[in-house]
């Protein structure tokens, strides 16, 4: 099946065109963007990013580890101070806090790699629909469609301010 790529200057028309295409039943879409824009976030992946779960779980593991390690170690090697419990919670909160941040941050990085599917593709190759123009200042909307739909999509993209529409060369 051929793919068409529309090239846009601004994110608003990309979002509108992509929503129209989805409404017409074209589900195989990809948007390439030179920067992060909120209006493009939820078009292809509607749910909020699962990275948030990674951060949460990492942070929770961190805080449990922080308190667990400090309490267990102070029981395993008691520093006896007359009449006081071996484990001293207020200073251990600092370790609990720092490890919550550390594990939360590392889990976020891992989450980015897993949820964002990075590293992506094979080394040194990009998607056929990708162009260096999308790491310049332009947006790309790639639609996979049947051959008979090409004129319709072409018209639709151009109607939404696509400054160029071209056929993706499948390698």
């Amino acid at each position: 099946m051929p793919s068409l790529v529309g090239i846009f200057e601004t994110p608003g028309p990309v979002a509108e065109a992509a929503n129209r295409l989805k409404g017409r039943g074209f589900q195989d879409l990809e948007i390439y963007s030179p920067a992060a824009f909120e209006e493009l976030d939820d078009i292809i992946l509607e749910k909020p990013s699962a990275v948030r779960l990674w951060t949460l779980i990492g942070g929770l593991i961190g805080v449990v580890t922080g308190y667990g390690v400090t309490i267990w170690m102070s029981i395993d090697w008691p520093l006896v101070t007359g009449g006081k419990p071996f484990a001293s919670i207020p200073p251990y909160t600092i370790i609990g806090f720092e490890l919550a941040i550390l594990f939360g941050g590392l889990a976020t990085l891992l989450g980015l790699l897993v949820v964002g599917r990075l590293p992506y593709g094979s080394f040194g190759h990009t998607d056929p629909g990708y162009s260096v123009r999308f790491s310049s200042e332009e947006f790309g909307l790639v639609v996979e469609c049947d051959e008979r739909d090409v004129p319709e999509i072409d018209a639709l993209l151009r109607a939404h301010e696509a400054k160029e529409v071209s056929l993706v060369d499948e390698d």
């Binding site: 051929p2 601004t10 990809e30 948007i31 390439y32 963007s33 030179p34 920067a35 992060a36 824009f37 976030d41 078009i43 992946l45 990013s49 990275v51 948030r52 951060t55 170690m73 102070s74 395993d76 090697w77 520093l79 001293s88 200073p91 251990y92 600092i94 370790i95 806090f97 720092e98 490890l99 941040i101 550390l102 941050g105 590392l106 976020t108 990085l109 989450g111 980015l112 949820v115 964002g116 599917r117 990075l118 590293p119 992506y120 080394f123 990009t126 260096v132 999308f134 790491s135 310049s136 200042e137 332009e138 051959e147 008979r148 090409v150 004129p151 072409d154 160029e164 071209s166 056929l167």
Partner: protein, 456 residues
């Protein structure tokens, strides 16, 4: 009517094989490809030389022992700890600019955040070395980590030095992660335009980034979460560093105001260091379109604000010393201003409290040489602040019979100078290997402006 055959329409569509690159890419990648000027090579050479000198001194110190440093009873925390605290402080501006200003949606941060983040990473790396240098037998510094050992010993988690270990290592890790995640989209921009070894490096580091929706969505979410994590972290790190002092009973150290006062001081010195590096950078690489007077104005305002918080901290310390009616506390503070270290104290007060007052005037905030001069003074003043706290505190404790005088030796000063060399060397190499301004974030603003018109 029968539509024309589909492929014939598609066949007429041809992509422009050589599209013109954007001005932003050309300008910002241009910094990396800018011809190596004699000035740059001279600076880099000086930096490397001072690192070599510091390294040789350090090796000599390991061989001879800490005796070559100026430690003398009762002062056993000297220039190394001062320099450690100084660089940890410098490391704070990057995270503040990247995380806190991100959460506040202060878009002006976009053109200075990358450089500031890099400075954070380099400053933490510089600071961390001083812990090893300070302890002397640095090959035993791993004793501070809780690792299983034959003796069944564990570390004491009630010690502020242990908290510091966790705080600094967490801060170093998170700043590197934050820095790297922010770099990924820009590495892809560089990859698409590079050749030779650069192409290989950027391709590997860009992780196949293409700016797809999935990639951006998880990227934005990660940056948001890391900002949320880094914000309390940055506030905690210098608080924990301050508790290295405040948890003790040394007069002049044992104060509850230490945490907020250290954090403000850290941001104060961090912003000054950002100004010190960005003013020449903008001038040399012609980045006036990206780092504007508006940025300098905001940086100067931050310096003024945090300068006042620091001034309030000093005033509060003196007031509480007087109000407490505790004689050792009062003596300690009296001797700060009028004792053997009076020069350090008055240098600190002039540089940190008086010099930034010029920033009440807009012309001063937006005149680069004034900002550069005041920022340099603040850097000097903030090093002296730590000198005043640490040295006068320790040299004038409770019993006058054990008072002593500390003076840094050539070894300490060489290693101190080497820390500036190390930091500058990393920064100079960085601007030639990675984009010093976050290209995709600048584009975000530029495209937003194009789409909606008007300035933001």
């Amino acid at each position: 009517m029968t539509p024309p055959p589909a492929m014939s329409v598609a066949d007429t569509m041809r992509r422009d094989p050589e599209p013109p690159d954007s001005q932003i890419n050309a300008d910002l990648l241009g910094v990396m490809y800018h011809k190596l000027s004699p000035g740059y090579l001279l600076l880099l050479g000086a930096a490397v030389l001072s690192v070599v000198a510091a390294g040789a001194t350090w090796v000599y110190q390991v061989y001879i022992g800490l005796g070559i440093a100026g430690y003398t009873h009762p002062v056993f925390w000297g220039a190394y700890i001062i320099t450690f605290v100084f660089w940890v402080g410098i490391a704070h501006a990057g995270t503040l600019i990247s995380a806190i200003l991100f959460l506040f949606r202060a878009k002006w941060r976009n053109s200075i955040n990358r450089g500031a983040e890099a400075m954070t990473v380099f400053a933490v790396l510089t600071a961390a070395q001083f812990l090893g240098i300070h302890v002397g037998r640095m090959w035993k510094s791993y004793f501070i980590l809780p690792y299983p050992n034959q003796r069944g010993l564990w570390v004491n988690f009630k010690s502020p030095l242990e908290w510091d270990t966790f705080a600094i290592s967490t801060y170093a890790t998170i700043s590197i992660v934050f820095f790297f995640i922010g770099l990924i989209p820009d590495l892809a921009i560089a990859r698409d335009r590079a050749t030779g070894w650069r192409k290989l490096v950027y391709t590997a580091l860009a992780l196949g980034w293409q700016g797809t929706t999935r990639q951006w969505k998880s990227h934005s979410r990660s940056v948001l979460h890391l900002s949320g994590l880094a914000t309390p972290l940055v506030l905690s790190v210098h608080s924990v560093v301050s508790w290295d002092f405040a948890m003790s009973i040394v007069p002049g150290w044992h104060a509850t105001i230490f945490a907020p006062y250290f954090v403000a001081g850290a941001i104060f010195s961090g912003f000054s260091m950002v100004a010190t590096f960005f003013i020449p950078l903008r001038r040399i690489y012609g980045l006036e379109a990206y780092i504007t007077d508006y940025h300098f104005d905001n940086i100067a305002k931050f310096i003024l604000l945090t300068g006042w918080i620091v001034t309030y901290g000093y005033a509060s310390e003196y007031f509480i010393a007087w109000y407490s009616a505790v004689e050792p506390e009062q003596t300690s503070f009296w001797l700060r201003a009028f004792g053997p270290y009076w020069i350090s104290t008055w240098t600190m007060l002039f540089c940190n409290c008086i010099a930034p007052q010029i920033f009440w005037f807009k012309w001063a905030r937006t005149t680069p040489w004034i900002l550069f001069t005041v920022a340099t003074l603040v850097n000097i003043g903030m090093w002296f602040e730590r000198y005043v706290i640490i040295i006068t505190g320790l040299s004038r404790e409770y019993n006058p019979a054990v008072w002593g005088i500390y003076t840094p030796t050539w070894a300490e000063l060489t290693i101190f100078a080497g820390s500036f060399g190390f930091f500058s060397m990393l920064f100079l190499l960085f601007i030639k290997i990675f984009p010093v301004i976050a290209i995709s974030e600048v584009k975000e603003l530029a495209i937003h402006e194009k789409a909606h018109g008007g300035a933001h």
